[in-house]
Each structure stands twice: as C-alpha cells, then as structure tokens.
C-alpha cells in the first residue's frame, strides 16, 4: 500500500499539480494533497505523533518524510498540547503548520492551545500575527475502535471564534479541500472521516467542482452532491455517503431527494442552504454528533430564517444521541442509520400545518 501511494505521488517530484482523473482512496488523495502543498510552499510543515517514519497511523503522511526530510515532516513527542502550542510559535515565525492529532478524542488534551491561543492570536495581535495552521483530525466513528477514537467535534470547534472547520466526504473533496485549507491564512480544523479513508473514488485534479455546480468551481462553500425536488438532506463527512444511499432508496418510493454536502461547517454556506431548501421546501439535517447543541441546530435555524415562508415542515434532525460515543458493539445503534434517516424524512413528508 505504501508503494501505491508513493507511485501516485511520484509524478509530483517537481511539485507540479497533477492533471486528469484518477481512482484514489481518501488516504491517497490526502497524501497527494499534502505532497503538493509541501512542494509548493517551502514554509509548510507536517508533524505530529507517528507522522514521520510510520507515515501516520492511517498512512496519510506516508512517504512524505522520505521526500521532504525530517526538518519538514517529523514525529513529535507524545503531547497534543505541545503539538498545537508549538504550531502557534511556528506561525509567529512564518511557517504554515499542518499538524496531525492522531484521533479526534486526542484533540481534547490540546483544547487549551486551540481555543485560547490558536483561535485568537490573530485578534490579540491586531492582525499582525495570523495563524495559518491546518489541523488535521481523523474524525467521526464507524471503525469499532477504542474509546475517544470515534468522536465528532465539529460543534465544539465551530463554536470557537477564530476557527474555521471543514470536512471532506470523498477522495475528490479530500484532495481539493485539503489543498485549499492549507493555503488559507487562518486556522482551519480539517476533519477527515476515518471510516471513509479506504473507499476509492474518482478524483478530478483539474477542477474542484463539476462545471456548472452552484459552488461555482470553488472549494469554499457547500456542494450539491445529488439534485432533487422534494427534500434536502444536509450532511457532511461520512454521513454524506449514507445520505446518498438514502436518496436512492427514497427514489424507489417516488421521493426525489437533494443531498447537500455542507463541506464547510464554519463558515456555513448559507446561500447554498437557502437555494436548495427554497427549491425543495423540506429539509433534514444528519450528523453523527450528539443532538443537543449539535451543528444540526445551527443549520435548522439558518434554513428557517431563510426559508420560513416556503417551508412545508419544521427542519428535522437525525443525529447521534446525547451519550458518550459507544464501544464497537453499539456503534450501529448510535450512528444515524438508513432507517432512522428515512423515519426523519417521513416525519417531514407527513407534516401537516395547524
């Protein structure tokens, strides 16, 4: 596998972005994006626990140390607060850090540095000390892992002023969104859906979005993954693939569903939400994170604000529960499954005013 990744990156020796279309896994797409970022920006650094020699526990940084050296791609001691705190100083010294936190739950030990420092240094320094930091976090559940390896932290991050948050749903998105995020002058939390690292998909290197898409070819906003007339399913990360499956099943019942991949969880693309739901007049938000104070509430409010007059029903939320992410045996009980999403859709379809 490591060879496969290196081979697809091989043409990149001079840092020229790839052209054309390729079938890649998300791991490979992310690896390629990092490779291009490192090649293009001599100030870009990749580091974290086991990122160097091992190439990351999910092999996303595979081969990069061999190619760019231990100065630019390196293992740190085992301390997340240290990793993120060091990124602050590196940013002050003119570097663009792309640190990795090994798993979602291990961003918690770094919360102090992320929230109190990274998120507000630009503000504190009156814009003189920007924080171009791209924090990669393998995220969400679905792999039957131990505790703290299945968390959904997007609402936590999105609530912090000064952080931007994005999550890709497939290899194509992963490639373009990571490259885009790693070029931003602000801190971006990049949430990689770990249950989708291995599935292959088409990556079109030439253009982030298919021509004519509402996002207009930019990875900056939300993206319609399937057009539909009757209801909009809003999702991100691993839930996008599940919602696309649901849309196919709904079609068997004569219901035409639009799937909107939010991609950016902060800032949220309000225009894309409004455009979609104004057309479909019904919406269901799906996320793995717990219900209470989850991002679904924010999305529902934005839709309600923009589409109150045309909405046929209140926006439904199908989410994880307000419980700690469970052990593997109970994982499928927790993550929104196809039936629970269909139930949510049915509630919206049935809704009668008055």
């Amino acid at each position: 596998m490591s060879n496969a990744i290196l081979e697809s990156g091989a043409a990149m020796a001079d840092g020229t972005p790839r052209r054309g279309v390729e079938q890649l896994s998300m791991q490979q797409a992310l690896n390629l994006a990092l490779d291009e970022v490192l090649a293009a920006n001599p100030k870009a650094l990749v580091f974290g626990e086991d990122c160097g020699r091992l190439g990351g526990v999910f092999r996303v940084t595979d081969g990069l140390q061999a190619k760019y050296g231990t100065g630019r791609v390196f293992d740190t001691p085992l301390a997340e607060s240290g990793i993120l705190g060091m990124s602050v100083g590196l940013a002050m010294a003119g570097f663009h850090s792309i640190p990795e936190v090994q798993f979602d739950g291990f961003a918690y030990p770094a919360i102090n540095q992320i929230v109190c420092q990274i998120a507000r240094m630009n503000y504190r320094s009156r814009g003189t000390m920007p924080m171009p930091i791209t924090l990669r976090v393998p995220s969400f559940g679905g792999i039957r892992a131990p505790e703290h390896h299945g968390e959904s932290l997007e609402a936590l991050f999105a609530h912090v002023p000064g952080l931007k948050v994005v999550s890709p749903s497939n290899p194509h998105e992963a490639y373009h969104l990571l490259k885009y995020a790693a070029e931003r002058p602000d801190p971006v939390v990049f949430m990689e859906p770990k249950s989708r690292y291995w599935q292959k998909g088409e990556v079109d290197f030439d253009s982030a979005d298919p021509a004519g898409s509402p996002a207009g070819g930019s990875p900056a906003g939300a993206k319609v993954m399937r057009a539909g007339r009757h209801l909009t399913l809003v999702a991100w990360g691993a839930m996008v693939a599940r919602c696309l499956q649901v849309a196919e099943l709904a079609a068997e019942d004569g219901i035409d569903i639009e799937v909107l991949d939010l991609r950016w969880l902060k800032p949220i693309d309000e225009a894309a939400l409004a455009a979609s739901v104004r057309k479909t007049r019904r919406a269901v938000v799906v996320h793995e994170a717990p219900l209470t104070s989850g991002l679904g509430a924010e999305v529902a409010q934005l839709i309600t604000q923009a589409c109150f007059d045309t909405l046929k029903a209140p926006v439904e939320r199908v989410t994880g529960f307000d419980v700690p992410y469970p052990s593997g045996d109970l994982e499928d009980e927790y993550i929104p499954n196809i039936d629970r999403i269909l139930f949510g859709i049915q509630r919206v379809l049935e809704y009668k005013r008055g």
């Binding site: 626990e49 030990p109 700690p324």
Partner: protein, 353 residues
C-alpha cells in the same frame, strides 16, 4: 538500553525509607511464574483471536510480563487502588481481575471493560495516554484526608511521560505528599517513536529528582526485582513519605496493536538486539537453577495457562452485545427528560431492542 541491575540503584533511591520486604518464598516465586505463563499465553492467544475475527483489535504486552505481573503482584487489593492504561492485561491478571470482563474491552463490548472497578481495585481501562495519572493523585490524596493507608499505583509509558498531565501529577503528588506509586513501563517505543526521540535525557526516572521524589530505575524484565521495588515503593508511600517513581526498563516485543506493522519502523535485528532476554525464559532458568521449580512444574503451569485461556475464550465468544439501552441509562446518575426522550425515539426506530 541501559538497564540497571539492582532494583535500588535509581537516583535518590537512598531516600527511600521503610524496611526491605521479606524475600519471596519458593511458593511465591512459583506463583509468579504461573502468572507470567498465564499472561503470556493469554496475550499471544488474544492476537490469534483477532486474526480469527473473535475480537476486532488488541494491544499485546509481549515482553512486559515481568514488569506487569511483578508490579500487580505487589498490590494489596484490600486497600490499594490501581490505574491502568490500555496495555495492562498482566497487571489485571496478577490482581485477580475477572479476565472475561477485562478482555471484553478488546471485543468492543464496553470501552472501560466490564469488570467492577471498585471491587477489583482497578480503575476502568484508560484509552487516553496519560489520562488517569492525575486521578491516582486525587485518589491517594483522598486516603490522606480520610487517614487511610491505601496507596494508588498508576501506570504509564515512556510516550505518556511527554504529556503535561504527567508532570502535573508528579508535582501535585510530591507537593501534597500523596501516597502514589508512578509505575512507568519504559518499553522502548511509543507506537513508532523510540524512547530516545521521546524522552529528552533518556530517563523518565530522572524527572523525579526535579519533583523532589525518590525514583527507582529497575530491570523491568526481572520479575523478582520488580516485585521487590514495587513493595518497597508501596511501603515508602504507605508510611506517609509521599510518592515514588519506578521506571521499569522493558521492551515491547510485539506490535503496538494487532494492526500495527513494526517492519515500517524497526528491523528484526534491532528487535533482537534491543529486546534483551525474554523475561519468562530468564525466570524459568533462574527457578530451575535455584531448584525452586522443575520441568514438571513448568509443564503444569503451561497446561493451566492453556486451560485458563480456553475458558476465557469461551467466555468472550459467549459474550453478547450490551443492550443498547445502556447507552442512555449509564450517562448520568440522574437522567434527564431529553435523554429519556432520545432513548424512547431510539427504541421506536431501532431494530435491535
């Protein structure tokens, strides 16, 4: 790796007060051996279980049997309390924890394991590196406040020693003179990162001096040395002299976990050179040389270990999933209306009730 031969030659070991404990009897030595064999056999079997699809993953402790069994053996489960990481199967076994309930965590049944932590005197399995070291300080300080004589022992690795929480814990414990034994298993590796690129200066025990705490750097592959050092540390802490740090020098002979491929970061030759002598084989030869045990005893110990593993495997295979309702029931002591509503919704819309 520079392991020190005597259990008492770590820095500041002279500060360790309290009498040397009684030497281990022949019966105790045989018991230690039987425990190590049981742990070795269960550990290697657990890897096989993973390959057979019985459990989704496992973190082997191959090579750390002496450090784990020896330290766990020194615990007095009537009054002490132990805080493990995710790799302390040998400690749990030595403390007499129900091993089906312990191994259930690796079957993905319940994150912390299904054993009763209060009864077993073993805190729930901890997946956060360095996560429970401060808890040991709190538990130990509670003993001081209650004027009890229990000692907390907390385990962590060379990798974990980099975490800020560990340093806070050492300082807290030393400032408060809390009865804590910090038991570090320096097994040479934190996943793919070797100790020399993890621990500046090369020694976790050396940290203790900065916190004014005695430390023992011991040969963690010598089970007798481990028992003696741990007992001595317990006596020191129990007598009200504050915390002790033990750095047991050992080696992670296996992969970090069942899906790790150590070939990516170390060669078989390096493994052979750095691992030193197998702690089990070494103890076996010693018992034989001292006339404490014979081949018949070793064969018996292995047979018992095999029977035990079969029993545990059967228990693990028979273990069903926990009911999904536990997801909701165990969040709080006092549940909330919102949670009850979510549980009702889950029951209605879920197939498995």
């Amino acid at each position: 790796m520079d392991t020190l031969p005597s259990p008492f030659s770590g820095n500041d070991a002279g500060q360790l007060s309290g009498p040397r404990s009684e030497p281990l009897t022949a019966g105790q030595l045989r018991e230690l051996f039987s425990l190590m064999v049981a742990v070795r056999h269960l550990d290697s079997s657990a890897i096989a279980w993973q390959r057979q699809g019985i459990i989704p993953g496992y973190a082997p402790e191959l090579g750390q049997e002496a450090a784990q069994v020896g330290s766990g053996y020194a615990v007095d489960t009537t009054r002490d309390f132990v805080f493990p990481t995710y790799r302390e199967m040998g400690v749990a076994r030595a403390m007499g924890v129900d091993m089906v309930a312990y191994m259930s965590t690796h079957k993905a049944t319940w994150h912390g394991g299904l054993y009763d932590p209060l009864q077993s005197r073993l805190a729930p399995i901890q997946a956060v590196v360095g996560g429970s070291v401060l808890h040991a300080v709190g538990w130990a300080h509670g003993q001081t406040l209650d004027q009890k004589d229990g000692v907390a022992m907390t385990y962590f690795g060379d990798g974990a020693s980099s975490q800020g929480d560990i340093h806070e814990a050492m300082n807290f414990a030393a400032v408060m003179k809390a009865p804590v034994v910090f038991f570090v298993q320096n097994n040479g590796w934190a996943i793919s990162v070797p100790t020399e690129r993890q621990v500046a200066g090369g020694s976790v025990a050396a940290r203790a001096a900065g916190y004014g705490m005695p430390a023992l750097r011991i040969d963690g592959n010598d089970v007798v040395a481990v028992v003696e050092a741990t007992r001595r540390a317990f006596a020191h802490a129990r007598a009200g002299n504050g915390p002790v740090l033990i750095e047991a020098m050992t080696y992670r002979r296996g992969p970090h976990s069942t899906s790790d491929d150590p070939g990516r970061y170390r060669s078989l030759n390096e493994e052979r050179d750095d691992a030193g002598e197998d702690p089990l084989e070494r103890f076996r030869r010693r018992l034989l040389a001292d006339g404490v045990a014979d081949e018949a005893f070793f064969a018996e110990a292995l047979a018992a270990a095999k029977a035990e593993e079969e029993h545990i495997r059967a228990g693990i295979q028979a273990l069903g999933s926990r009911p999904g309702s536990e997801m909701f029931d165990l969040v709080f002591q006092e549940t909330t209306l919102a949670l009850q509503a979510q549980a009702a919704n889950w029951r209605e819309e879920s197939e498995h009730v």
